[in-house]
């Protein structure tokens, strides 16, 4: 992860100082306003991020797009790579049963996060913003899952959901005294029933996501000027109106962040499902299918790359939207 690299689009604003690049360009015909030192600084500041960006992002991306038209088992040199046209894509759509369910699951995941988990996190934030008693405790409790990786959440989920030995079924049995809750066949098979298992995974993932959104949103709420609320209240707005008509619009920038974070979290969902059963039995996600094809002994590098390209196409939409918005704002 090269998250340490500066955002590639960020202009090296602090470098120019007194000499904005525009003026420099105008005077370039005869002499440069920039000293040699300036030039060195500038080229380093542009060059290093550009290098990192090209080698860690563009090269692999283009690499997988190229590989998606090939057949390669990852063994031997590059000369072993065979170009096979769009056959990988044909197979993906026609001969690979897990593909469409995985696309569907990705979309359901996105919808569940957008429509349930994220609004829930926002609601928590709004409630906790009211300075109710013990708000710090509630905040900590809700935030706790966020520090866990989704892989750990996956482990915890399995301990909860296991049909014979899991906490939920044994709790039900202890409370009702009825052994049917832990008997195979009558017990609820949380992780083995297709459909139900995906819903339960979403519950576990949301458990973490709600806290994340809550913290982001709470930070935003704290920054809203209180006089706005007071003014609205004096004008006779009730709590709901204050939120939807005043606070929510003022929070536009953070709303975009929350939206993008939600979309990204949904598209990169991987670890929890991989930990539970490698995406078998109705838990398939595109990311997991890519891993199953490329990692391991299977090594269908070309085929896996074709799926990665599909995921890239899906991911790129929200990213472009977000970047356009952010960059547009900065240009203003």
């Amino acid at each position: 992860m090269s998250s340490s690299s500066a955002p590639p689009y960020a202009p090296p604003a602090s470098a120019g100082g007194a000499s904005p690049p525009l003026r420099a360009r105008r005077g370039r015909k005869r002499f440069s306003v920039l000293t040699r030192r300036d030039k060195l600084t500038l080229s380093l500041m542009v060059g290093i991020p550009a290098f990192i960006h090209i080698f860690l992002i563009w090269l692999p991306t283009i690499g997988s797009i190229v590989l998606s038209f090939t057949s390669w088992n990852g063994i031997g040199g590059l000369d072993k790579i065979k170009f096979i046209g769009i056959k990988n894509y044909e197979n993906l759509f026609a001969n690979y049963p897990p593909f469409w369910p995985a696309v569907e699951n990705n979309l359901i995941w996105l919808a569940a996060f957008l429509l349930i988990a994220t609004p829930l996190g926002m609601l928590m934030a709004v409630i906790l913003d009211q300075n109710i008693r013990g708000t710090r405790i509630y905040q900590s409790v809700l935030y706790m899952p966020v520090v866990l990786s989704l892989a750990i959440v996956g482990f915890i989920a399995q301990l909860m959901y296991s049909p014979g030995m899991g906490f939920i079924n044994n709790f039900l049995q202890a409370v009702t005294g009825d052994p049917k809750w832990v008997t195979s066949g009558t017990a609820i098979d949380w992780l083995g029933t297709p459909g139900l298992n995906f819903a339960m995974v979403l519950v576990a993932a949301s458990w973490r996501h709600v806290g994340y959104i809550m913290v982001l949103y709470l930070a935003g709420l704290k920054s809203v000027d209180n006089t706005l609320r007071e003014a609205a209240a004096i004008d006779g707005a009730n709590a709901r109106q204050v939120f939807f008509r005043v606070v929510f619009p003022v929070m536009a920038p953070i709303n975009v962040v929350v939206l993008v974070v939600t979309i990204i979290e949904s598209l990169r969902a991987f670890d929890i499902v991989y930990i539970i059963n490698k995406g078998l039995n109705g838990l398939g996600l595109l990311s997991v299918l890519i891993a199953n094809n490329i990692l391991g002994e299977a090594s269908l590098i070309g085929f896996g790359s074709a799926m990665a390209v599909i995921l890239l196409l899906i991911s790129i939409g929200p990213i472009i939207y977000y970047l356009a918005r952010t960059l547009g704002k900065e240009a203003e």
């Binding site: 991306t61 897990p98 959901y161 296991s162 098979d189 083995g192 920054s223 990169r268 790129i316």
Partner: protein, 465 residues
């Protein structure tokens, strides 16, 4: 105004945060695409995996002083191990210590978690592999031999050949007729039960399908699940498919089917799934949410009467008394032409030498030792769920569990490895047969012709190897 100032600051911070999020998000989204080139990047992964768990087991004797002086076997041999569970890890360390004491050659063991070892094997063997490494017999061995990633050790077999039966030699031979593998042990897939519980209930070992279903009906009446079953991880159901296939269609058909010479659309395969569907009422009705460990606990806790699995299920019986109470028998015959053959899955684990081995002589000396009766004896003294591949190994110390294993393997006319060891990995994995078998288990009464043609078209879509 102060408020305003504060607000603009916080908005700027927010924007910065947004930028960071965007950078992260951009990267993570692209990582999906980066996956494609992970094979080219993965050597460093493999390299970083191995040494992190490196543990030198060389005893601090004079042996460790021996530098690379002699041209023949000496110095240090590296050994990549997937024996990451406690019991086998200690057992293999004991074997290596004995080797060092005997020959003065040091061994550095790099232990990698079992599944991870398998997942990174391609990259591992191409990057900086250890001189020798643990692996499986069958297609998985022949594949790497054919790709030129393993060293021909036919000369080692010249020395150790007499220790093994022809069946093991065949299992160690690559497509080119040379040997690439030294077997250590194997274990059979069998029907496991608790002796004391069966005596108490008056159950008898079923020899035929009729006996088996009768016993199953009785167990159901007694409130038991006749056959424990778990397939959350996708592979245990392969064992059931294999045994039914070998009982109905024979070993040769199994081999042909795994090699792609027989078609999945063959009515013979359909017959296997039809038979399985008839037997499913005796299986645990909810296998897809359970691991084999949980199913083994069902057997141990007397919720289930039997469990069809490899004898490694015995690892779940942690106290000696329970372990001693476990016994097993071969899967019943189905009244077909292949009853006499009694083919079973009995996967072989052993060792190979990488093509990039640095200390060739040392590696061969180690493999020769691993093919000796001594090595087998030391290993099995510490891991008593398996039986030695070496026919010179000391069987007098076998416990009842191992003795039964040895008898069943001895009586089997044909020995297969296992579905995912006998066929190409891209077909067997989570992509292919694992999910196909789960699809069947979810709806055993589905249109089998459509189901099987789906398997065949997936097989046909895989690149030629």
């Amino acid at each position: 105004m102060a408020d305003l100032g504060q607000r603009s600051v916080s908005r700027r911070t927010l924007l910065k945060g947004g930028a960071a999020v965007a950078a992260l998000g951009g990267i993570s989204a692209f990582i999906a695409a980066c996956g494609g080139s992970s094979a080219t990047a993965s050597p460093s992964v493999a390299a970083s995996v191995a040494p992190s768990t490196a543990a030198s087991v060389a005893p601090s004797t004079a042996a460790s002083v021996a530098p690379s002086t002699a041209p023949s076997a000496s110095g240090t041999v590296t050994f990549g191990s997937n024996y990451s569970d406690d019991v086998p890890k200690k057992a293999i360390a004991a074997v290596m210590t004995a080797f060092t004491q005997k020959t003065g050659i040091n061994v550095t063991i790099n232990t990698v978690e079992h599944n991870k070892f398998q997942d990174t094997i391609n990259a591992y063997l191409q990057a900086t592999p250890d001189d020798t490494f643990t692996w499986f017999a069958g297609y998985r061995m022949r594949f790497f031999a054919a790709q030129g990633l393993a060293t021909d050790i036919s000369d080692v077999w010249g020395t150790i050949g007499a220790n093994f039966s022809d069946a093991f030699k065949t299992a160690s031979t690559g497509d080119d007729g040379k040997q690439y593998f030294v077997p250590l042990y194997n274990y059979p897939w069998v029907v496991i039960y608790r002796k004391s519980f069966w005596t108490q209930k008056g159950y008898a070992i079923p020899k035929t399908l009729a006996d088996f279903t009768k016993l199953g009906d009785q167990m159901k009446k007694d409130g038991l699940i006749p056959l424990a079953f778990a397939d959350k991880d996708g592979w245990p159901a392969m064992g059931t498919f294999d045994i039914l296939n070998m009982r109905i269609n024979g070993y040769d058909f199994h081999v042909g089917l795994m090699a792609g010479k027989q078609k999945w659309t063959d009515p013979k395969v359909k017959a296997v799934f039809q038979q399985w569907a008839q037997l499913l009422p005796y299986f645990d009705p909810a296998p897809l949410g359970k691991t084999w460990q949980e199913a083994a606990q069902d057997l141990i806790n007397k919720k289930a009467g039997m469990y069809f699995l490899g004898t490694f299920a015995g690892q779940q019986a942690t106290d000696q008394a329970t372990h001693d109470d476990l016994d097993f028998f071969p899967f019943p015959t189905l009244g077909t032409a292949y009853d006499a053959e009694m083919g079973i899955d009995a996967p072989i684990d052993g060792f190979m030498m990488s093509s990039k081995a640095k200390n060739t002589d040392g590696a061969k000396a180690l493999l020769e030792y691993l093919g000796s009766a001594d090595a087998a004896n030391i290993y099995l003294a510490s891991d008593a769920n398996d039986v030695a591949a070496n026919k010179q190994a000391d069987t007098s110390k076998y416990n009842a569990f191992q003795k039964s294993s040895a008898t069943i393997i001895g009586n089997a006319g044909k020995i297969a490895q296992f579905l995912d060891r006998d066929t190409r990995p891209d077909f067997a994995g989570a992509n292919g047969m694992q999910s196909f078998l789960q699809t069947f288990l979810k709806a055993p009464t589905q249109d089998l012709d459509k189901f099987l043609s789906g398997i065949q078209s997936f097989y046909d879509s895989l690149p030629p190897q």
